[in-house]
Symmetry: C2
């Protein structure tokens, strides 16, 4: 098998980006948000790239989500002026919060009275506040039945000259553990129900409050968003094997693949050793075949126009050390490759894999920088 991408300068693990697939993923989500009359505030933590952000801007997107103040600063510098930091307020970064609040419409998440009081005391510019609600994921957020705490936080916001109440925000992160579309749908229905009750309770005092929710699995699978005002999916820009496994995307929607040099072959084990390890993929894995197989990625065959899936579970990244990856393949695939060739590995979790690269390489050879 000749090295594909003969025109691309691949000498080390390189994250290939299929720009067309990526733009289709954006278009599909923009359309869905429009159809359901939802505010579309995509999460930019997956791509973390000004250039890719521009593809959203062209589609009319002007509100975004990020998961750190560092990302907020990066995108604010690029002209994004309505940013939600979907992470509990980190008091130790108050200087950055102050700077950003003076420049853009900054939306922050709180889930404790201490945080609101702290912000109220330490800000001079206006900031919008979402109260983070735990809609079942049990990572962060206030339980929806804890209305005494919510009351106290709202009271503190009302008494503040800089804080404005924006609404309730939830993240159904447990949808990533769903086993199929039906489970995703159930999680969606239950979690939006929790938020709606809160809206009912508080809308007479805060008639403009919104409900913000919508992770990638839910936004990809559902076609019913009654009660939701705003969605914030992120991973859909690239998708990955985790999303594919739960039915949130098709294999052909996945827009990134790591191109890796083959550096050794071991015929007795049908294993290819690639330059591509934990420092390139991160270590998220996927369990296939009822727990009998753990994979860190799937083999795709690189072609002149992109890549082609092998359409089975027999060719996969089976082990990772710091720089080495072990790829277990069927014998006929093993025989196709030689040392010095480049092989494609589709990542299990595109957010963490993308985070480990400095840039994306498009199929026509453009290098796209990221934070």
């Amino acid at each position: 098998m000749n090295p594909p991408f003969a025109l691309l300068p691949i000498t080390e693990p390189t994250l290939l980006l299929d720009e067309l697939k990526c733009k289709k993923n954006i278009e599909r989500m923009v359309q869905k948000a429009a159809k359901h009359n939802l505010i579309f505030r995509p999460h930019f933590k997956t791509h973390q790239s000004k250039h890719i952000a521009g593809w959203f801007r062209k589609k009319g997107v002007n509100k975004i989500t990020v998961s750190s103040l560092k990302m907020a600063r990066y995108f604010a510098k690029d002209g994004w002026d309505d940013i939600t930091v979907a992470f509990p307020v980190n008091m130790l970064e108050i200087d950055t919060i102050r700077q950003l609040a003076g420049k853009i419409k900054l939306n922050l998440l709180v889930e404790s009275l201490e945080s609101v009081t702290f912000l109220s005391k330490n800000l001079t510019s206006t900031v919008s506040i979402f109260i983070k609600i735990d809609i079942g994921y049990h990572r962060t957020g206030i339980l929806p039945e804890n209305t005494p705490l919510i009351d106290n936080i709202l009271e503190e916001i009302k008494n503040s000259s800089t804080l404005k109440f924006a609404g309730f925000l939830g993240h159904a992160g447990h949808s990533y553990q769903a086993k199929n579309k039906q489970e995703i749908q159930n999680i969606h229905t239950t979690s939006i129900g929790m938020l709606q009750k809160l809206k009912e309770r508080y809308k007479s005092i805060f008639p403009h409050l919104i409900l913000s929710t919508g992770d990638t699995p839910t936004c990809s699978v559902m076609d019913e968003f009654t009660g939701t005002d705003e969605i914030r999916p992120g991973n859909f820009i690239f998708y990955d094997l985790t999303q594919w496994a739960i039915g949130a995307c098709n294999f052909d929607d996945i827009a990134v693949v790591m191109a890796c040099p083959i550096v050794a072959k071991h015929q007795s084990r049908n294993e290819l050793i690639i330059y591509g390890g934990g420092v390139h993929f991160s270590k998220d894995h996927l369990v296939l075949k009822n727990g009998t197989k753990t994979i860190f990625g799937k083999v795709v065959s690189l072609t002149n126009s992109g890549w082609q899936g092998l359409n089975n579970d027999e060719n996969y990244l089976s082990k990772l050390s710091q720089e080495h990856g072990t790829v277990t393949v069927e014998r006929h695939i093993f025989d196709k490759y030689k040392v010095g060739d480049v092989i494609g590995i589709m990542p299990v979790h595109s957010c963490l894999t993308a985070n480990l690269t400095k840039s994306y390489l498009t199929l026509d050879g453009k290098l796209i920088e990221r934070l």
Copy 2:
């Protein structure tokens, strides 16, 4: 609990480095190598820092190991002129190999005839070649009994004007999975035995050939190295919970801890939410208590002079998402911390955690850059 390190500028996840512990780890290994008359060629993939490399240089170290040509270039630029790249030759990086071979004593690993032939055809400067032997880890390397292949490779080296045979190199990576010191010792004895047989076989033709082995567990635990000529441990510079769990180090030898802001508390679950996620720690984990508990790190209490372990398995990093970490603690620890405090997390795998940081912060406030 007051924020510790009041003098250090911690606002986001920050990898603290205890310089004294680190230097003690270096000193101990330098002494051991000297005592056993071994060539000490430490692996620099863990720290990847010119500054820390300088601490080795002061102890007389002048030969090093790295795991990528990128690292080789970085350290060569800093004046290191005898570097082993402990990774199968990546043909696609031949330009970099050529440049380095022209400047320093470059030692490369081969495990196939194709690679040696390729190097022989494509080099103009001298390069030393180690044949990589699979001493039981079964990741890379030629099986020691495959002497026909070894013969062919040696023949190719002899016929080349640029390649020089350096010896046999093995990596007992399976020692990381050992459960105790006895298992580490058994692995050491078996693997060095395999290499010694090869030395016996080839020493009449190559009287200067050396045997290079020695991972961190083996080099830390063993005090018997008969047959070994060179050791290449790397992780010992920082150690981590994985090494501690298999008995390769004491808890007090671990020289790095991630300082993380606390951003939320959940009393009903005794959980602290920290700013510190998969993009800071990577996702290697450790299984404790016969498989009942998976941890991504252990809580240490930060003090004015460093940190203090809590000496049990009840306070640990239990979950990781991209930027969030969930820390599960005992109630009395939970009560000690408030939102806005900084907590210390000792990493499971220091190589991958260090790889995700741009710099180390020493306890006296120096920022140490890395690749």
